[in-house]
């Protein structure tokens, strides 16, 4: 069965915020069309926007959590990675206080994700040590 649809979203690169349509065929991204009705870009894109689907299916994508064991990063299940983090984080912040933790958030992630990471940093750990690369 053939399946072709387009999904309206926003370009992941610069801060202009151009509207794009992702072309999805059978669960894979096949291309990008410029959204003609987005008021910012009005059907136009730069080369980065036109290629915004290309890195998504890169074979290099990280597909499983990794934990360093004997100096090497090894694939583990989510539960193991999460409990490893929890026990190490608790041990460090209990021994040295919340200000021994820091978080680098990301200008490439969503607004909600940035909100959640700062909430985690401030409310769960208890420090204001959070920043992102706006300066960089």
């Amino acid at each position: 069965m053939i399946d072709y649809r387009t999904v309206y979203t926003i370009c992941p690169f610069c801060g202009t915020g151009c509207g794009i349509l992702l072309e999805v065929m059978n669960g894979r991204l096949e291309g990008v069309l410029p959204c003609k009705t987005n008021p910012v870009n009005q059907g136009k894109l730069c080369i980065k926007g036109w290629s915004a689907h290309e890195f998504v299916h890169s074979p290099d994508r990280l597909k499983k959590p990794l934990v360093r064991k004997d100096g090497r990063l090894e694939e583990v299940e989510w539960d193991e990675a999460l409990s490893f983090i929890a026990s190490r984080l608790k041990a460090i912040t209990q021994a040295y206080g919340p200000d021994s933790f820091g978080a680098f958030s990301s200008a490439k992630c969503t607004t909600e994700e940035n909100y959640l990471l700062q909430k985690f940093t401030r409310a769960v750990i208890g420090t204001n040590n959070i920043d992102h690369c706006a300066r960089l």
């Binding site: 999904v7 309206y8 979203t9 690169f13 610069c14 801060g15 202009t16 915020g17 999805v24 669960g27 894979r28 991204l29 910012v40 870009n41 980065k48 290309e54 290099d60 994508r61 990280l62 597909k63 499983k64 360093r68 989510w78 990675a81 999460l82 983090i85 929890a86 190490r88 608790k90 460090i92 200000d99 021994s100 820091g102 978080a103 680098f104 958030s105 990301s106 200008a107 490439k108 992630c109 909600e112 994700e113 940035n114 909100y115 959640l116 990471l117 700062q118 401030r122 409310a123 769960v124 208890g126 420090t127 204001n128 040590n129 959070i130 920043d131 992102h132 706006a134 300066r135 960089l136």
Partner: protein, 527 residues
């Protein structure tokens, strides 16, 4: 941006300073082209003759790092000639008298001496900008990535207030954000000194609101910036670091220092989509997803909150980043991280952040909304500061010109400018995995002025070594008059020859932005 992208097209004069717009924000650049076709005057101030500079009515080739002097020089002429907006200054601002006295000494002759811009061009620019019906300023990292970044921004505010070119359609001060959601990250207080929506850590009512909502006692002491955290790692202040979607091993200045710091951490958690240079140093790695595999919002450079939508399922066992943070919080035993979807997270944001209070996923289903939007009925704020500034009157804050932190000397005779290439983005982890983009260019280069190349007998395409006090890289030479003689330019997207091996971590004292745009280097051909 105080204005919207659309408005630029209607400006009568656009002053572009420290923005290689065609390369970094192409679709905004093309609005500027359209403005020009409708008769707008375009002024470009930049140490490099960028693509957009070649289409400018007036190109001011400044010496690197002299922006404050340029702007003060323009203000001097504008005030002397009486071209400033007397009514606006009187009704909407304070501190004009101080500014007026202060910029006395920035005479065209002196400014020309500092900046290298001929006096006559300074006069032309001052007149064009001040007298146009609507003038807009457009700037980018070329303004902020300096030890005097804040001074640069303040001086632009002075210019726009003195000329009354702010708070109107097509008139304002417009910083272009480099990355898709810099605006949103900052709005959400992924910064150490405020709470979401720029609410003060010092305000008891604000703290009480957040403490009630989150059910915790909040720390009041401002935290550390990225650069300060890097230093604090070395001294044992920071022992655990959670890096989400960032690659400081390419993006931060003085990479060798960064590497040492990251290696000395007791716990480095990295959440990313690709095995980056930073992932290689992690103790634990969490696979996040791309923009195409999750829902959420991005806030673009003109404060526009727009939705992104999940188009495909996550690859492998990767999880949406919002979900991972909740998973980590749960693992830590935190009770309050149960969200069924990003839309619920957004509703919490709207309930705590007045600037976003009127926005919801439903309202932005079709087109975005530009904040501030304080009620469910309020429309987008197309341009800001219409009748009043956020603090009432706008205050002139005069700033003095200061030289960059590291200037060329005998040993390191060239100024190095870093910036973007048109075909790549940030640390390249995404764009260098895109064949259309790597097909254009996939190697670092250095732009060298023909006169300098001739002197050093460097030919186009030749491997050239750049050395600063912090490190060295070897890259291919591109001979081009885009750069001034005495300056070289290197794009920063290429991890294997990272420009930030060379850059100076000297910071702006207020906002701690490193001086990426200027450091001193030595240039030699590789035998």
């Amino acid at each position: 941006m105080t204005n919207s992208v659309e408005e630029l097209e209607d400006a009568a004069c656009i002053l572009i300073i420290g923005s290689n717009t065609t390369v970094a924000h192409p679709i905004i650049a093309t609005r500027i082209f359209r403005a020009r076709e409708k008769g707008a005057k375009i002024i470009v101030v930049d140490p490099r003759k960028t693509h957009i500079a070649s289409y400018a009515d007036l190109y001011l080739a400044e010496k690197s790092g002299t922006d404050v002097a340029v702007i003060n020089g323009l203000l001097h002429i504008i005030i002397k000639e009486g071209w400033y907006d007397k009514e606006f200054v009187e009704k909407r601002t304070e501190g004009f008298a101080v500014l007026k006295t202060f910029i006395e000494e920035y005479t065209p002759a002196r400014v020309s001496e500092i900046t290298g811009i001929p006096e006559v061009q300074l006069r032309q620019a001052a007149e064009m900008f001040a007298k146009a019906k609507q003038s807009s300023i457009v700037y980018c990292m070329g303004i902020t990535q300096h030890t005097v970044g804040v001074d640069n921004v303040l001086s632009l505010a002075n210019l726009s207030m003195a000329t009354g070119h702010i708070g109107k359609w097509a008139s304002g001060v417009n910083p272009l954000r480099g990355q898709n959601n810099v605006q949103g990250s900052t709005d959400m207080a992924a910064i150490p000194n405020v709470l979401p929506g720029y609410q003060s850590l010092a305000d008891d009512a604000v703290i009480a609101k957040f403490e009630t909502a989150w059910g915790v006692t909040l720390p009041r002491k401002p935290g550390l910036t990225i650069m300060e955290m890097m230093d604090a790692i070395g001294t044992g202040g920071i022992r655990a670091l959670y890096v989400m979607g960032e690659n400081p091993m390419v993006s931060d200045p003085d990479i060798q220092h960064v590497k040492k710091a990251l290696e000395s951490l007791e716990l480095l958690i990295v959440q990313d989509i690709f095995p980056t240079e930073t992932v290689a140093l992690a103790h634990v790695v969490l696979p996040g997803v791309t923009f195409a595999e999750k829902d959420g919002t991005f806030v673009s450079t003109d404060r526009r909150v727009q939705r992104i939508r999940k188009a495909i399922e996550p690859i492998g066992e990767a999880r949406p980043d919002w979900q991972i943070i909740c998973d980590v919080a749960h693992a830590m035993g935190a009770p309050d991280f149960d969200y069924a979807s990003p839309s619920e997270v957004f509703d919490e944001i709207a309930s705590l952040v007045p600037l976003f209070a009127g926005i919801s996923y439903d309202r932005i289903a079709e087109n975005g909304i530009q904040w501030p939007c304080r009620t469910k009925e309020a429309p987008s704020t197309v341009f800001m500061h219409k009748d009043t500034f956020s603090k009432g009157l706008g205050t002139f804050k005069p700033v003095a010109y200061k030289a960059p932190a590291e200037l060329p000397d005998e040993e390191y005779p060239f100024i190095l400018i870093t910036g973007r290439d048109a075909f790549h983005y940030h640390t390249g982890s995404m764009t260098r995995r895109s064949k259309s983009l790597t097909g254009q260019i996939n190697r670092c280069y250095v732009q060298i002025h023909p006169a300098d190349a001739k002197k050093l007998r460097i030919k186009a395409g030749q491997l050239t070594r750049l050395r600063s006090r912090r490190g060295a890289i070897e890259v291919e030479a591109r001979i081009t008059p885009i750069v001034q003689s005495g300056s070289v330019f290197v794009p920063f997207h290429f991890a294997e020859t990272a420009a930030n091996v060379l850059t100076n971590p000297a910071l702006d004292p207020v906002v701690k932005i490193p001086e990426f745009k200027i450091c001193a280097v030595k240039l030699e051909k590789v035998a």
